[in-house]
Symmetry: C5
Subunit: 354 residues, 5 copies
């Protein structure tokens, strides 16, 4: 499927609310990790069966249930039934080409964001969908495969470092969103260095490969924007939401991550401007270089054209050709050649063509 369109082509025949994973089954087994914590305690477990998850809905502690792998339809529908998730939510969880969004279902908030990765060699951005479900006592995080940017959050919960253990699930959701946005800066850092490197290469010695690199980076920017602009809306919506799931003291943190998202957008837009500038620079550099070459070559040609004509003249076989018999003809020819060449060169130099 094209990387550009990013949506299920097969769904058309399905009724809305159908929970069928459309991705590439990135993982073999669905991995479930549960972190159950409070100010004083922290329990970690990897339950194998759905039944073990259900009690967390009503427990007093905060529970973070992280699910890696989305093809186990039964599991998801079981969860949905027990936790009361709307069928459209489950459909969006498994259709992993969603635009980032925030939806308030009263009992829980549904948040979709995209986690980025960057393959520097192919110059290709990858983006994985992360679904967060924030309830009054739990946070679900669902994604397609193993490997995420949440390890620092896990560490903080385990160590009891920072204030995370003393806050509710809304703070946890904030921490996860913050980790996602922080990761954007890592990606941007990489892209920024590539752009600056490209710039210095372009100034020194412009080459078609660089033009292609600029084009690729521009394309990735288009994809990047599709992740970050809606993210801003998600965070703005979260800050303004009237839902009681988000406590007042957490809002200041949401505003902080919102500020970071704005900063990401600023940087992305700067990159777009930079890349347009590089495109212009490339075109005028290549044209400068080319013109330089053509000019010198044409000048060399032009200097020899009149003297070659002269040599042709004295190669003619007319019988009545007085100069041929003159004694100083040949040296005079060379003298004329040097004079013509010199005059043309100085003419070119005077008009600043050399």
């Amino acid at each position: 499927m094209s990387r550009l369109t990013q949506r299920r082509p097969t769904k058309a025949a399905q009724p809305p609310g159908t929970v069928e994973y459309v991705g590439k089954h990135k993982v073999e087994n669905v991995g479930i990790t549960v972190l159950d914590y409070g100010p004083a305690c922290c329990r970690e477990s990897t339950p194998a069966a759905l039944a073990e998850l259900l009690p967390h809905r009503d427990s007093e502690t905060v529970t973070w249930i992280d699910i890696d792998g989305l093809h186990d339809t039964e599991l998801l529908q079981g969860l949905g039934a027990h936790f009361g998730f709307h069928p459209l939510v489950l459909e969006d969880v498994v259709n992993t080409h969603q635009r980032p969004k925030l939806e308030d279902y009263g009992d829980y908030l549904y948040i979709v964001v995209r986690m980025l990765s960057y393959d520097a060699e192919k110059r290709e951005l990858g983006s994985d969908q992360v679904s967060l479900l924030l309830g009054s006592r739990y946070v679900f995080s669902l994604q397609e495969s193993w490997g995420d940017v949440f390890d620092p959050v896990r560490e903080r919960i385990r160590n009891g470092k920072g204030r995370i253990r003393n806050h509710g699930p809304d703070y946890l959701a904030y921490a996860l969103l913050d980790a996602v946005v922080d990761n954007y800066f890592v990606i941007l850092e990489q892209l920024g260095e590539e752009i600056e490197e490209l710039e210095s290469l372009l100034v020194e010695d412009p080459r078609p490969e660089q033009q292609r690199a600029v084009h690729q980076l521009k394309r990735e920017m288009i994809l990047l924007r599709k992740s970050v602009w809606p993210l801003r809306e998600v965070l703005a919506g979260l800050e303004r939401t009237e839902s009681e799931l988000l406590r007042p003291e957490t809002r200041v943190f949401v505003r902080d991550v919102y500020d970071h998202a704005i900063q990401v957008i600023d940087v992305v837009e700067s990159f777009r401007d930079m890349l347009s500038g590089l495109q212009d620079l490339y075109l005028s550099s290549i044209s400068n270089k080319m013109n330089e070459v053509m000019k010198v070559l044409t000048i060399i040609g032009t200097i020899f054209i009149p003297v070659t004509f002269l040599a042709g003249v004295y190669g003619m076989n007319f019988e009545h050709f007085p100069e041929l018999a003159w004694k100083w003809s040949y040296p005079a020819f060379w003298a004329a050649t040097l004079v013509v060449g010199g005059v043309m060169l100085s003419f070119f130099r005077r008009r600043k063509w050399l």
Copy 2:
């Protein structure tokens, strides 16, 4: 008529509210299909006369009346009189070049959307107008010709699959809009693949045909935007409408299809950016390639220019020409030729022109 303007040129002399079909009479006979269903039952019929349709206005069951072909003015005016449709609505139904829009007439909502098709060979988008009339117990769908994207919806009603049979006509209208928007993704998928194919061709070997293809795709994007931007407004309006015809539990579904419309717009805008990028890439590729050619050719020419001059010199017929009699003149000439050629080549190489 030009594909760009899309509006009745003949109407000028008609009073507003005139119901006269302006299209190309795409179908021979008007086809009417009625699907009448409730949670437990589902009846399908193809009534031949207007009278058979009239009772559905007040029946308890949900009725979907699908009309293919718009040239039977009498039929439409009969329907309009019985169901109470405003003359401007009927006028817009048959003037099939409307912009997508939503109008609330109190007893019913009038929705215009455009159904797309794509002819990959001519690289031309086609767009058919679909008019939906959503009343309290019925949905009318009217279009110019046979063939639509509604088959999955029909299947779901017939099979009783999904929740469609348990909901009212507002859910049916949603399902139809969803089918239309889902079809957009199919079209975008095709366009996306064409764009990516074009991109890889352009990088390998840029040709004028590709430039023309880029131009055609850009033109189709202009047309596509004219369908999707107003569609977004229609769906946003539908989500926010105060009409009681749209029940609260259906709104979450409308929001879902609205999200998809936004996603369509995102993709269309990305495509536009991509195509601008391809345009730039084409221009700089063709200019790179061209310059490469010219450079090598000019260099070949330049290397031979001085030595051709030398040959001309020794072809002169002066009587006093000492070199001509020397024994090693001829080998010396070749040696000079090789030296000059070598010096110029290495000069070109040193300045990175080769």
Copy 3:
């Protein structure tokens, strides 16, 4: 006066509210046509004197007073005094370079729109100002010269066709605005066909005339936008106006013509995009064509350069020149020529330069 600025340069010294016509006195005599109608009756007259117009202010019937020619200052001031028009309104009526606008003066609405015409040969848009004054029992339409787009409306009133005779002056004003906007579609149709024709010419055989035509059309688009964007605001304002002069049942019609104005804007913006695309297409086509020429010519030159050098060599007059005496020298020369030419041609072909 420049077509671009469109405003009275002489006014500076006049106090605001001065009623002095600044146009080119397009008509000899001011033509006044009165259509006075109700559901059952319709009287048409062409009064010669101001006094005949005055009773229409208070009559029960709807009166449409159409004035062609604006240089009779006395007439206008007489009307203004009797009907209570603000001096600024009269000033704007005669200063025929107004931007479309809507002004609510309580007793009457003042509407300015621009009526377009297109001279296909010069590729020039003309635009005439039409002022509408909508009171409770009358509509004034004022324009600079004979000839307008209102004939269909006149016909409908005379024939009693459609609903126009049963409605008030607000519906008449709507009908006039609708006629103006419908005329825009006729103009756009013409422009659209010209653009499509240009496009197919450009693809086949790009020429400087086409570039100039693109430029002219772009310029006319700039002028066209200046008429249609404010028109949209006028119609939006009319739909939302709180004035009681516009009855509720007429609002749905105003919304309809507003929809058409939006559609006009959509088309104009599409045309602008199309013309930018044509500009790009022209530039890259001409550059493709040019490069093609230069390439072939340079290649021809290059193939002959080495062999011309060879001929020069054997034209040298050295006394010690072994090849000259050899028997097969001459055929060998031709063989070498063919080999060199063939090698270069195959080299060019291998590198895809031919």
Copy 4:
């Protein structure tokens, strides 16, 4: 100081509210003109001392105090103290690089606009700051130097022509703003004519001077926009202001001058579009012209290349060279030359290169 930045570089070390003129002391003496008028009377005076101005604050008549020259700090501070002007207002009056703005200080409104002049030879816009202070019985107008666009207003007051003498100071302020905006049209008229002249020159015979003229006009447009966009805000603010200094009957006039400002913006934006179009036209014209030249020249060269080669061949000195002895060789050579030339010409013509 750069024309682009337009702001006091020396102020940094001054506390806010410092009244120190930063301009170029354009006039020798400060000129004060007072016009004191009512419906029946009109007195004109040129007071030499501050004391003569003070009574006008409370007089019943309307007073227009026009001050030309801003370097007399004492005078301004005296006025400020007596009329109660805020120090920041006085600071802005003398720092004559303000952006147009409107500030409501309760007792008076402070309005800054910019008066334009155009030096057609250098193609340079000049802009002078005009400060208006509108109180309940007076209007101050302050500017840097003699010479303004207010003469028509003065004439109207003196003659009692129009309604100006019957209105309050708010109408006077309106009249002054209207005079400023009317002057914009004069400038735009000049610019518009220059643009149209440039366009016709460019179409006929593109030259580098025209490119430079386009560039200069574009630059002036940038400066012009900086004056007119904020002006629009000023007038919009004035129309909406809740200040009682602006009487209801004057608002309709302010709306009128607001309309004119919008029209100015429309024209400026059109000019920008036009100039971009000219830029494109120039580039493609110059490239058309250039390509035409190069093509014809290269073709001439190419036709002679093969025949020059042929002449070279028969200039070779081989001993075994059968053709040299043939009787018809020489005429045959010319025949071959004509055939080759003709074939190439017809080939070029067939491929439409000539």
Copy 5:
């Protein structure tokens, strides 16, 4: 770290609210300067220990605490604890890549702005973060290193010049913001002069260095915009804030500095437009110049091509070659040469190629 992204890459693993300076430890020692003043008094001190600062929280006088250097984490946390600053505020203070912003924490306002410097030689903008904390009796200003733009403010406080000593800390905060914005004008002045100089160089003699300079300036503009657009929001927010920390009489001053920020944005946007214009000018100038060169050279070549062919013809060795024996052949050859050259030159001149 890349200048483009400007954010902590190492933070990812830290919990939010961690106060750890990420900059380059620009100063050795943290410098603390305290200015404690009222209408009548002014005390200056440089306390060495945290404890000396604490009493200022509750003193009656206004206290400005200026901290240069941010790596002393303990100091900051001590201040934070005593003055009640939120941990996120302290985190943002030390993470010196913040976007300008305004945050209202009830007891105090947190303001981030960026102070610019410009290295004219490298054509590089530098930007330092300045954090202001405005409480009811104090203002903190925190920055990374020594050297700021606040000296004039300090002077005014020490001298009691202006009104600063009679106002509260809100006026002080305004004065600091005004100093920062005033400094922007100094930078813009420098940039403006560079742009104008570049422009005149480009018109005279376009060179690749200038193209590079244009590119660099465009890049700096991108960075500059990232500082000034958010600054505008900060100041607009400050003007509208409902916080009681900003007294009504200070708001008019904030509006003044807001006006200046708008003016800065206007100038920056003008510069961007100017630089785009320069880019276009460069490209068309270089292309004009190049074409000029190529044209003259090609013409020289073309004039010699036919006559060189003629010389080649009479260099042929045919035995039957009547012209060779004619007496006037040689002079006739020169005559032909001159005629051909003259005809071609006049042809070129007539077609305006010379």
